[in-house]
């Protein structure tokens, strides 16, 4: 228990200790909100879809959760490169506790990042339809954060250094973001694109958050929740499995 806590605490402390990094990582979501939100707003409205900011904000919130989560999982590579991982790995504690502590820490940080972007969205005009649904949205945020931190750890467990990192950004994380219905509605898509969006785990996370926040979704909250929980559990499993096999 205390092992999990101290690993969580380390992750959280290091995040809050560098406010410049927190602020820096808000630039991109803010830019997306403003440029896409106001840029596409009028086309979206003309197409009879309503207010684009309402649609877009949940997607951008989850974008920052996705990026922060993957990064905080992947920073395991730094721990290895700077030697700190050895200190942890040679300690008489089960590896699953180390993995879990790190994952919870990463997920906490990523969720917090989501909360900040949520507040930013409110400032630029986003409106929540039902305050009582906020806890449901928060649940989705945390699960998605867990899911992608585990993914980051799974990847970092297999990477020797930061070499493969750009590849993972371009061929995994960016597609996960763009193909998740973060920017466009999931209805009326070409068949191929429709299939791909349904294979993207983030799709269900965003759909769940969107329905909780604005009351309109595609699959319904129970389906979204079920899928997100299942995928999170699977990825936690894969992450732990690969983490067990790391040679420090």
């Amino acid at each position: 228990m205390s092992t999990i806590y101290i690993l969580w605490l380390r992750q959280v402390k290091k995040y809050f200790r560098t406010p410049s990094r927190i602020i820096g990582s808000l630039g991109q979501p803010l830019l997306f909100l403003l440029v896409f939100g106001f840029g596409f707003g009028s086309i979206y409205k003309q197409a009879g879809q309503g207010d684009y900011i309402q649609f877009l904000a949940p997607g951008i919130i989850m974008m920052s959760v996705l990026f922060t989560a993957v990064f905080s999982g992947i920073d395991l590579i730094w721990d290895r490169q700077f030697g700190f991982l050895k200190e942890t790995m040679v300690a008489p504690v089960p590896r699953w506790q180390i993995m879990l502590g790190k994952t919870l820490g990463g997920a906490t940080v990523a969720s917090f990042q989501g909360v900040i972007v949520f507040i930013l969205s409110l400032i630029v005009g986003f409106k929540v339809h039902d305050l009582f649904m906020l806890p449901v949205a928060a649940l989705f945020v945390f699960l998605v954060a867990l899911l992608f931190t585990s993914l980051g750890i799974a990847i970092a467990s297999r990477l020797e250094d930061m070499q493969g990192f750009q590849l993972i950004m371009n061929f995994l994380v960016m597609p996960i973001f763009f193909l998740s219905g973060s920017l466009f509605p999931l209805q009326g898509l070409p068949k191929a694109l429709e299939v791909v969006t349904r294979l993207d785990p983030l799709t269900y996370g965003i759909d769940g958050v969107r329905e909780s926040l604005i009351g309109v979704g595609t699959f319904g909250i129970p389906i979204d929740l079920l899928l997100v929980v299942v995928i999170t559990v699977v990825l936690l499993g894969i992450g732990s499995y690969l983490f067990e096999r790391i040679q420090a």
């Binding site: 092992t3 380390r10 700077f82 030697g83 200190e87 300690a91 008489p92 420090a248």
Partner: protein, 271 residues
Amino acid sequence: MVSNLTDTNIISVSGLTKKFKDFVAVDNISFTVKKGEIFAFLGPNGAGKSTTIQMLTTLLAPTKGKVMINGNDPTKNKDAVRKSFGIVFQDPSLDSDLTALENMQYHAVLYKVSKEIREKRIGELLRFVELWDRKNDMVKTFSGGMKRRLEVARGLLHHPAIMFLDEPTLGLDPQTRNHIWSYLQDISEKQKMTVFFTTHYMAEAEKVADRIAIIDHGKIVAMGSLAELEDKTKTNSLEEAFIAITGNTIREEQVNGTGRMRAMQRLWGRR
């Protein structure tokens, strides 16, 4: 010193071998270390010192041979072995974005040092290595020597029966070197803590070790107290004995690029 030690072998190694593909890094070595002893593994770069330490400390599986650490086999009872030693790795292993105190607390929790004694013990050790007034500073602001002292303090935190140190003083100035050894000798004597360290500094082995094993190309080529080694080779210093045994000396120029880079890193910090 050696005379008043008990006869318990806290480390015993027989026929230990490590192959990386076809390359034999550690070649059928056997030795024992007694409780409370300070044991040096002396050899040039690439001799197989770090590989041996990794096998003794559960980090690497041997290709062949048997190891017992404090009564446990590191390939089978990993956790029991891990509880019984502290380690200072060859390369830095602190979190430089945490303070000295936080690095110590992290270790204390991982090693289940009980809450009641945790703060007191950390305070003692940080004072012991003269870092108490810097306890709330980020480790990234520390010099190489300060980091090393912190790693030593951290390794001692859970009262290990054995302390492993892999080239603990590489790249440090003589004063810091002396400092670190005076802490370790003090604790070894008072608490019967065993110290197993590697080095390629002759003077260091000569000065602090009760017994020395000379390792070259993965093999132990000689072993004994300083007097025994000198006796055997009919020489008057470890340096001469070393030359008589290996036909070589260890000069700084022989230390390869990685070794020099490590020394630089330690001196200049790593970010």
